[in-house]
């Protein structure tokens, strides 16, 4: 560890394979065993764990998070190239391979740039400093006198390249590491990164290369992984949630070739040499399930259930002034109640994973956005050491949090262990919708106290909801996996929700949440976990709708009202930018309701996520006859500190707006007493391209004086409120229950106000 050693053959082989995961399957067992042997060497306190310079001067950056399709690796490469003073094209980013990257928490909480890039920025700066010192020693001149251009160090007419100095050898440099793994990991050397005023690559709209790989059918997804001797698995889930397997009738699938049945408690799967046979076996196998009482309340009673169910935990997150006293003596109290449904990740495909469990080690190909935690979870369920498991993150069919891929990883490992062969498992569509962890359903009550003059003297906002984490946001503990729960390892939900962030100032303000016990104390298709911007859409739908209701009660323009209660200058700037770009003319909402069939309106919502700020204005048309909502235009003003890649940021925001519009207008997990019943795209509709807005105008506010902040999710959270506020402006009807389906809107606007 303490001397600079030539890169080992095994390491070199891994580097070659690292960027193209399809490579290496000719001899996967050999390569993966070597990879596992290298695991212990990659610790965050070594510069070589973050960066390598090859002999040709190309740079490899080892990123311990992953990209879910927003192009974060481009930003990482920009930052590394910037600090190292090499061309962007020279940097390749390796992500999410547990043998090659340290655990930076995977994709998590929009921290890819805000937290994940920080050690890489420091590492690149430290690598540059190290290389300059090497050149200074070679040239016999002070490092300060050297000039670097695209990885070539010059002193007068003498030149040496990074590749010449260190190519193919590890950096022998220690870093200061805070001993934290995951999102909070920091590590740095002594070098100071560049000031933003010197940036030439950071801030440029450099394009993604992976789009071409996908367009030309070259990108390998986890479902495309094929290993010699690989079998195909399918899981079989209970028809009544909570039921366990009593018996299976193997004769019912005797006509299918080579099918194995794997059963362990309630864990039930089939394995076959041919995928189509595994599918047919899973659909044909006769299973006797335990006679279990269907556990779920009537769908239409969901929110009544939330209001009456047992509380599991809760917290007052913010308390300033004396809101209860102000409410008690108020001249007027305005109260409103909001409801949000369960929602599904509903990824483009049900999750897939490939596991190869061997005596000498375990290889896992997984689409999870947290491969280091999948490594730990698979090790735990198999009774192996984490370092025995090599998890290779491979692109999945979309990832917006803890979807079904973590469960697929553990299922694949158990099936492979049972079969003694590599197993690829993929869900069917009904499992993707029916058995993924869900975004929690919630209720929210806003109460505001007004004095005699109509001024708001207190704001109280209370949430009562399902927890956001019936299962953890990663799969490192098998108790938080379907397989573990079905095998009887237990069920350990954590009470958690949250309160709205944001700088609204009132004389008294009280923000709190309570979470109720889960619907089923066992493996449940309704268990909750993190779904893009966990609890943000729920909270901000309710909070920003309520702010709008207060503006209306005060007979104030919604933009002016927000500015009046937002003292923070950064917050005011995004609200103003959105209004200016929209061409907002101030007036009281719902003061210009059309009498014809088409009613148009505009609504604003503002939100903070961490330190990222977003204001969104939606313009909608409401069809009186059908209740259909057309989202005609969105204006988004977005401030996330220093911008690394403006075009990448714009597209990320567009994706968030579309995803969140879909959730606002359509998405609602349906269920009966036994199971989820919204199990495909007909029963769980999402936004169709015919419903996509005409325009999304995006205003980026760059703040080079601020750190680069997260943008992966923030623009998701104000969308539902912006649409709901626009519907109110158009119709005078306040929708306090999401989603705003045509049926719901039609009923709401047909009731006289």
């Amino acid at each position: 560890m303490n001397q600079t050693t030539p890169i080992s053959l095994s390491r070199r082989g891994l580097l070659a394979a690292g960027g193209a995961l399809v490579v290496g399957f000719a001899a996967p067992r050999c390569a993966t065993a070597q990879a596992a042997a290298k695991l212990a060497a990659r610790t965050p306190d070594r510069l070589s764990s973050w960066l390598a310079v090859q002999q040709n001067g190309d740079v490899i950056a080892y990123f311990g998070k992953i990209d879910v399709g927003q192009g974060v690796e481009v930003a990482i490469a920009q930052i590394v190239a910037e600090e190292l003073d090499v061309d962007f094209a020279r940097v390749r980013v390796v992500m999410g391979d547990t043998a090659l990257t340290v655990n930076q928490g995977g994709a998590s909480g929009s921290t890819g740039i805000e937290l994940g890039a920080v050690p890489l920025r420091f590492a690149a700066a430290e690598a540059r400093r190290t290389l300059l010192n090497m050149a200074a020693a070679a040239f016999g001149v002070p490092a300060a006198n050297l000039i670097v251009t695209n990885g070539i160090i010059a002193s007068g007419d003498r030149r040496v390249s990074y590749g010449d100095l260190i190519g193919g050898r590890d950096f022998d440099v220690a870093l200061q590491w805070n001993s934290v793994l995951g999102n909070g990991l920091t590590a740095r050397g002594v070098a100071q990164p560049k000031p933003p005023s010197q940036y030439r690559l950071v801030g440029q709209s450099i394009r993604r290369d992976d789009v071409a790989r996908k367009v030309f059918a070259e990108r390998v997804y986890v479902s495309d992984i094929r290993v010699p001797g690989m079998l195909h698995g399918r899981m079989i889930r209970p028809p009544v949630a909570g039921a366990t397997v009593v018996s299976v009738d193997a004769a019912s699938i005797a006509h299918l070739k080579g099918v194995q049945i794997v059963k362990n408690g309630g864990f039930l799967g089939v394995i076959a040499p041919k995928e189509w046979d595994a599918i047919r076996a899973s659909q044909t196998l006769a299973v006797t399930w335990s006679d279990t009482k269907p556990p779920f309340p009537p769908f239409e009673h969901l929110h009544a259930h939330i209001r009456t169910a047992k509380i599991q935990g809760g917290k007052t997150e913010f308390n300033e002034g004396d809101a209860p006293a102000a409410l008690a003596r108020a001249a007027q109290v305005i109260t409103a109640d909001y409801e949000w449904p369960f929602q599904s990740h509903a990824c483009m495909a049900p999750a897939c994973a490939v596991a190869d469990v061997r005596a000498d080690g375990v290889t896992l190909w997984t689409g999870t956005q947290k491969p280091h935690y999948a490594q730990a979870g698979v090790a735990a369920i198999l009774g192996r050491k984490p370092e025995d498991v090599h998890a290779i993150w491979t692109h999945g069919p979309g990832s917006y949090g803890r979807n079904d891929s973590g469960d697929a990883a553990i299922d694949a490992a158990l099936l492979s262990k049972a079969a003694g062969a590599p197993v690829r498992v993929q869900g069917m569509r009904h499992e993707g919708h029916g058995w993924d962890p869900k975004g929690p359903a919630s209720t929210h009550v806003g109460r505001a106290a007004l004095d005699e003059g109509g001024h708001i003297v207190a704001m109280e906002f209370a949430t009562r909801a399902f927890s956001r984490t019936d299962v953890d946001s990663n799969e490192s503990n098998p108790q938080h996996s379907l397989a573990g729960q079905m095998m009887g390892l237990g069920f350990k939900p954590t009470p958690a929700f949250g309160v709205p962030e944001g700088a609204y100032k009132f004389p008294a303000k009280h923000l709190s949440w309570q979470s109720i016990v889960p619907l089923l104390d066992a493996a449940s298709p309704m268990r909750t976990s993190h779904l893009r911007d966990p609890v943000g859409p729920q909270l901000i739908f309710a909070y920003e709708s309520f702010i709008d209701e207060l503006a209306h009660a005060a007979k104030a323009d919604p933009v002016a009202f927000r500015l009046q209660h937002l003292p923070d200058e950064r917050s005011r700037a995004v609200v103003r930018a959105a209004a200016d770009t929209f061409g907002w003319q101030g007036r009281v909402a719902a003061s210009q309701i059309a009498s014809g069939n088409i009613m148009t309106g505009r609504g604003i919502a503002f939100a903070q996520r961490g330190r990222t700020l977003v204001a969104i204005i939606a313009q909608v048309a409401v069809h009186r006859d059908t209740g259909r909502i057309d989202t005609q235009r969105f204006v988004v003003a977005h401030e996330c500190g220093l911008i690394i890649n403006p075009d990448g940021l714009r597209r990320t925001i567009e994706g968030n707006i579309i995803h969140a519009t879909s959730r606002s207008l359509h998405e609602e997990v349906k269920f009966d007493s036994s199971a989820v019943t919204s199990v495909d795209w007909l029963t769980y509709p999402i936004l169709d391209v015919t419903e996509a807005p005409s325009t999304i105008d995006i205003v980026l506010i760059d703040r080079p004086d601020q750190p680069a902040l997260g943008a992966g999710e923030a623009s998701t959270r104000p969308v539902a409120a912006a649409i709901g506020n626009a519907i109110f402006d158009a119709t005078g009807v306040r929708l306090r229950k999401a989603p705003f389906t045509s049926e719901r809107v039609k009923v709401a606007i047909s009731i006289p106000v």
């Binding site: 995928e275 047919r280 483009m348 495909a349 994706g655 999402i686 391209v689 996509a692």
Partner: protein, 154 residues
């Protein structure tokens, strides 16, 4: 009850031995021929990720029994163009950076290719109607519309 049949994919013929003639074409392409596109998304014909062309017509291979293919020419995403010789839509999708995870792209490009072959100057409404029903969960709709428009308006 094994049977052997021949299918033509991207200009090449392949002999397959199958014991279920009702197996969807998708599994023949992926599991017998080792192709990565098309993709499994729903198996219900609801998302488009499995789209291929049969004699130029966009079909959902997850619902097309292998026995129904006959001698039709099957074209996949890999067969409509390459990086060196891209289909205009492939070039447009790259130019517009029209993808997030990209798992759905197969369906959008293959469906748009059939649409624009029939309506090379498709209007905005025709483009949206022609692509209706395809799923994209990450929300790349705006960029994908820009890409298709770029070709229709070229």
């Amino acid at each position: 009850m094994s049977q052997t049949l021949t299918i033509k994919v991207d200009g090449a013929s392949h002999a397959l031995t199958l014991d279920d003639a009702d197996m969807p074409l998708l599994y023949a392409l992926r599991d017998e021929l080792g192709m990565n596109n098309p993709r499994f998304g729903c198996g219900l014909g609801q998302c488009g990720a499995c789209t291929v062309h049969l004699d130029g017509v966009a079909v959902r291979s997850c619902l097309t029994p292998i026995s129904a293919v006959g001698g039709s020419a099957i074209t996949t995403l890999a067969g409509i163009g390459t990086e060196a010789h891209p289909h205009p839509l492939q070039a447009a999708f790259v130019a517009e950076q029209a993808a997030f995870c990209g798992y759905c792209l197969n369906g959008w490009i293959m469906t748009a290719a059939a649409l624009l072959r029939d309506k090379p100057r498709a209007t905005e409404v025709e483009i949206r109607d022609g692509l209706s029903g395809l799923k994209c969960r990450c929300g790349a709709h705006m960029a994908m519309l820009r890409a298709v428009r770029r070709v229709a308006q070229a």
